[in-house]
C-alpha cells in the first residue's frame, strides 16, 4: 500500500471523531506511519466537520488539502459534495444518503440541492452511496452510522486483513458497546450495492 489519504466529512455530532480514531488505530496496527487531523470545538455543534486520516511510510502534514484525498467518506450527502474539491481526480466517494438540513435550509433562506447522488454518479469518481442510517438502526443503534461506513470502506481496502479491523474496533470501542458496533461494521462490510 502506498500513501492513502481519507477525508471523513459530516455534521458535528455524527461521530466523525470516533471514525478517524478507529482508522488511525487500524493504520498503526499494520505498522504504517499515520497522522489524523481532527476538529474539536465550535463546529462540533452541528456545523460542517472534516477529519483527515493519512496513512503511509512517512507522513508530514496531518492535513489533506485540495486535490489530495483518495477517498471521501461522507456521513451526509451534502457534505460529500461540499468537500469534493479535496478529492483527487478519479477518487472514491463513499457516502451515507442521509440528508441533514443546514440551518439556512431550515429557515427557508435557501434550499437543499437536489440530485446530489445523480450528479455524483455522473461525475468522474467511484461512488458508493448507501443508507447507513438504516443499517445502523438495524444493527441496534442509530449512533453507529460511522461504524457502518467504515465497514463499507474496509471493503475498498483489501490490503488490510479483516482481523485487523476487528482489533481496531476492540481498541477504540468501549467493551459494552462492542457487540452493536461489530454488527454495524459487518453490515457495512457485507453491504451489497444495488
Amino acid at each position: 500500500m502506498v500513501n492513502l489519504n481519507i477525508l471523513i466529512v459530516g455534521v458535528g455530532g455524527q461521530g466523525t471523531l470516533l471514525a478517524s480514531k478507529f482508522l488511525g488505530a487500524v493504520a498503526a496496527l499494520i505498522g504504517k506511519d499515520v497522522k489524523v487531523s481532527e476538529v474539536h470545538g465550535m463546529s462540533q455543534r452541528g456545523g460542517s466537520v472534516v477529519t483527515c486520516v493519512k496513512i503511509g511510510d512517512n507522513i508530514h502534514s496531518p492535513l489533506i488539502d485540495e486535490g489530495q484525498a483518495d477517498i471521501i467518506l461522507a456521513f451526509e450527502q451534502l457534505e460529500a459534495v461540499r468537500w469534493i474539491k479535496y478529492l483527487k481526480k478519479g477518487g472514491t466517494v463513499i457516502t451515507n444518503i442521509q440528508k441533514i438540513n443546514p440551518m439556512p435550509v431550515v429557515f427557508g433562506q435557501t434550499t437543499y440541492p437536489d440530485k446530489i447522488l445523480d450528479i455524483l454518479a455522473d461525475s468522474d469518481v467511484t461512488l458508493h452511496a448507501l443508507d447507513a442510517f438504516s443499517l445502523a438502526v438495524e444493527s441496534g443503534t442509530s449512533k453507529a452510522v460511522n461504524i457502518v461506513l467504515l465497514g463499507v470502506l474496509s471493503r475498498t481496502l483489501p490490503e488490510i486483513p479483516e482481523n485487523i479491523w476487528q482489533d481496531g474496533l476492540n481498541a477504540v470501542i468501549p467493551a459494552k458497546l462492542l457487540d452493536v458496533n461489530t454488527r454495524a461494521f459487518e453490515k457495512g462490510r457485507n453491504y451489497i450495492e444495488g
Binding site: 470545538g41 455543534r45 456545523g47 502534514s61 496531518p62 488539502d65 486535490g67 461540499r82 438540513n101
Partner: protein, 582 residues
C-alpha cells in the same frame, strides 16, 4: 509499540512522564484535552480553575513550594493570565513551571487569531514549539528541565493543527523526582521595585545563557541540509507543510522560538542561496532574521498573515501552482452549515424570548454566542469572556453621558463565563449605580468547550463532589436586590421576568436555569410529533429555530433522528398540534 496520540494527549503524557505534581487550567479550544487527559492520572493533582489567571497563580504557588506545575490555556486565555505571567518571569521557579498556550490560526473556535509568540518575547520567557505529537511529549519534558535549570517559567506553544492532530509517539515511564525544598527568599519571590530591579538583570542574563546553550539548542533546533539553493526557516506545523511542498530544500527547524538562535540562523543563512521564512500569522521569525542583518530573507511577501497555511496555499503562493481536484459533472452550490445550538438546548428559550422583545443584548462567549445567528439575531456585541456584563454597564453610562435615548439592554452570560470574569463586572454595576439586567444562563456545565465542570456544577475535574457556588446568594451578597431564578422553557414567564427587570430602576439578575441537553442526567422522554391533520401550516413552530423542525413538501415535520424531546416547541403552536406524550 508506538501509540497514536492527540497532540494534547501527548503533552499530558509528557507532563506525567516529567513527574508533574500540579496542573491547574481553564478550558479553551484547542487546549482543553491537555488538562482533561491530565485528570486521568492519579499521581497528578489537577483542577479546573475559574479562569486562566487563577490557574497560573495556582501553578506558580505550587512551583514556589518545589512542586512541578503546569497550566494550559488557549491563546486568549494567556491574555487573562498575562499579569502573573510577566512577573513570574522575574521570580523564576523552584519546581519546574510550564505554561501551554494553544493558538488558533484560522479561528476555528476563537474570537481572534493573535500570535502568542509575542507574549514570550515581551515577558522574556522561553517558548518551545513542537511540530507533532512526539515533540509535544518530548518538548514538554524538556520544558520542565529547562525551567529548573534556567530558573524560568517555560511556555509551550501549539496551534490547532498540532493540538488536534494524532501521530505516533514513543512512551516512557514516569520519573519520580526528589521533592525540592521550599526556602523563603524575598529577593526572589517578593517582587517590589527594589527586588524586581535586581531580578530583571537575572532575567536578561538567563535568556542570554539559554540562547547560547548548545545542549538545549541541539535538542530542539535542527538543520537539515539538502539542496542549498533554497533554505527555509520554519517551526511548528509549518515545518510539516514545508517538508511536503519543498522536499529537497534545506531546512532550519526552530524548536525554541524564544530566544531565537541567532548564531544558528546566521550559519544557515550563509550556507543557502535563497532564504525563505515560513510561519503562520505574524512575521515573528522573519522580522528577527532581518533584524540580525539577514536582509535576503523573504516570507510574508509570499505567505499571508491571515488564517492558516497549508500545503496548497504555500505551493500556490510560491510556485503559482493550482491543485488538481475531482470535479462534479454539474456544479452544486452547497449551502453553508454553520454551527447551531443543539436540539433541546436550554438557551433556545432565552433567545426566542429576547428576539421578540426590543432589547439590546450585550453578548458573551459560550454556546449562547450562537444567539447572534438567525433566526434570533439577538446578540449585539461579543468581545471577550465577561465583557457582556461590563459592556452593558458601559452602554448605559455612555448613553447617559451623551444624552442619547437609553436602549433597554440585557447582558447574557453563561455560568462558567460568569465565574470566569463576570462577577467583577457585576460588582462594578452595583458600586457605580448602574441599573443593568444580567441574565446568567445556568446550564450546569461549561458547554462550548465540550462539557467541563466549573464552580457552579458541584463536581471537580475528577468528578468528585465539590461545594457548589450558589449563584443566587453570590449575586445577593454583591448587593443585587433583585435576583430571580427562571425556567427558560417557560416562555411567557421568562418574557415577563425580562420585562419586569428591564423596567425597574435598579440592577437585577435573572438566573435562567435548565441543564444542557447533552448532560447524562437530562431525560426528556418521547419526541413530540406534529399532528398533520390538525396542522394549519402557519409555520410558527419554525420561529423557534430548532434544527429538528423542518418543512418538506409543504408539511411541517419534526426530525425524529435529531429531536431531543425537550417539548419546547409544544408551546409554539397556537392550535395545539404539536403533541408530546408525557
Amino acid at each position: 509499540m508506538k501509540k497514536l496520540l492527540l497532540g494534547n494527549e501527548a503533552i499530558a503524557r509528557g507532563a506525567w512522564e516529567a513527574g508533574v505534581h500540579v496542573v491547574a487550567s481553564y478550558p479553551g479550544t484547542p487546549s482543553t484535552e491537555i488538562t482533561e487527559n491530565i485528570s486521568k492520572y492519579d499521581e497528578i493533582y489537577s483542577e479546573w480553575a475559574p479562569n486562566e489567571k487563577v490557574a497560573l497563580e495556582v501553578s506558580i504557588g505550587a512551583s514556589v513550594t518545589g512542586a512541578r506545575a503546569m497550566s494550559a490555556m488557549k491563546h486568549v486565555g494567556l491574555n487573562v493570565a498575562a499579569d502573573p505571567l510577566y512577573t513570574a518571569s522575574y521570580t523564576g521557579v523552584n519546581g519546574g513551571l510550564v505554561i501551554v498556550v494553544a493558538d488558533d490560526p484560522g479561528m476555528h473556535s476563537s474570537q481572534n487569531e493573535q500570535d502568542s509568540r509575542y507574549h514570550a518575547l515581551a515577558s522574556h520567557i522561553p517558548m518551545l514549539e513542537p511540530s507533532d505529537s512526539q515533540e509535544c511529549l518530548d518538548f514538554t519534558k524538556a520544558a520542565f528541565d529547562i525551567s529548573e535549570k534556567f530558573d524560568t517559567p517555560v511556555i509551550i506553544r501549539t496551534t490547532t493543527r498540532i493540538a488536534h492532530q494524532r501521530s505516533l509517539v514513543e512512551l516512557s515511564d514516569r520519573q519520580e523526582l526528589p521533592k525540592k525544598e521550599y526556602k523563603k527568599d524575598i529577593m526572589k519571590y517578593v517582587m517590589m521595585p527594589g527586588m524586581a530591579i535586581k531580578r530583571h538583570v537575572i532575567v536578561d542574563k538567563r535568556m542570554n545563557d539559554l540562547e547560547n546553550n548548545k545542549e538545549v539548542s541541539s535538542l530542539v533546533n535542527k538543520i537539515e541540509y539538502n539542496d542549498k539553493t533554497l533554505g527555509i526557516i520554519t517551526s511548528g506545523i509549518s515545518y510539516q507543510y514545508t517538508k511536503e511542498v519543498f522536499p529537497n530544500a534545506s531546512v532550519l527547524k526552530i524548536g525554541l522560538v524564544n530566544p531565537m538562535p541567532t548564531e544558528l540562523i546566521k550559519e544557515f543563512a550563509a550556507n543557502v542561496d535563497k532564504l525563505l521564512v515560513i510561519e503562520e500569522l505574524e512575521p515573528y521569525m522573519e522580522n528577527f532574521v532581518k533584524q540580525i542583518g539577514i536582509l535576503k530573507a523573504e516570507g510574508k511577501k509570499y505567505f499571508t498573515n491571515q488564517g492558516e497555511l497549508n500545503t496548497v496555499k504555500i505551493a500556490s503562493a510560491y510556485y503559482g501552482t493550482k491543485p488538481e481536484s475531482a470535479e462534479l459533472s454539474q456544479d452544486i452550490q452547497a449551502p453553508a452549515r454553520p454551527p447551531v445550538m443543539c436540539p433541546g438546548c436550554p438557551h433556545r428559550g432565552v433567545f426566542y424570548v429576547l428576539s421578540n422583545m426590543k432589547v439590546r443584548v450585550s453578548g458573551d462567549i459560550g454556546c449562547y454566542t450562537l444567539g447572534a445567528m438567525a433566526p434570533y439575531a439577538s446578540v449585539d456585541t461579543c468581545v471577550c469572556m465577561g465583557a457582556s456584563v461590563s459592556m452593558a454597564h458601559g452602554a448605559q453610562k455612555g448613553e447617559l453621558a451623551t444624552g442619547s435615548d437609553i436602549i433597554p439592554t440585557v447582558a447574557i452570560i453563561g455560568d462558567s463565563t460568569f465565574m470566569h470574569s463576570g462577577i467583577t463586572g457585576l460588582v462594578d454595576i452595583v458600586y457605580n449605580k448602574g441599573t443593568s439586567t444580567v441574565i446568567i444562563l445556568d446550564n450546569s456545565i461549561t458547554g462550548m468547550t465540550g462539557h467541563q465542570q466549573n464552580p457552579t456544577t458541584g463536581y471537580t475535574i475528577k468528578m468528585e463532589e465539590a461545594p457548589k457556588i450558589d449563584l443566587v446568594k453570590l449575586c445577593e451578597a454583591l448587593g443585587i436586590k433583585r435576583v430571580r431564578v427562571e425556567d427558560p422553557f417557560d416562555l411567557p414567564a421568562f418574557k415577563q421576568a425580562v420585562s419586569e427587570e428591564l423596567s425597574c430602576d435598579e440592577p437585577s439578575v435573572i438566573i435562567s436555569r435548565r441543564p444542557c441537553v447533552l448532560l447524562k442526567n437530562v431525560k426528556y422522554g418521547k419526541n413530540p410529533i406534529i399532528n398533520q391533520d390538525k396542522c394549519r401550516k402557519c409555520g410558527k413552530c419554525m420561529k423557534l429555530g430548532c434544527p429538528a423542525i423542518f418543512k418538506e413538501d409543504g408539511k411541517y415535520l419534526i426530525d425524529d433522528a435529531i429531536c431531543a424531546g425537550c417539548g419546547l416547541c409544544v408551546q409554539m403552536c397556537p392550535f395545539g398540534c404539536i403533541e408530546k406524550e408525557i
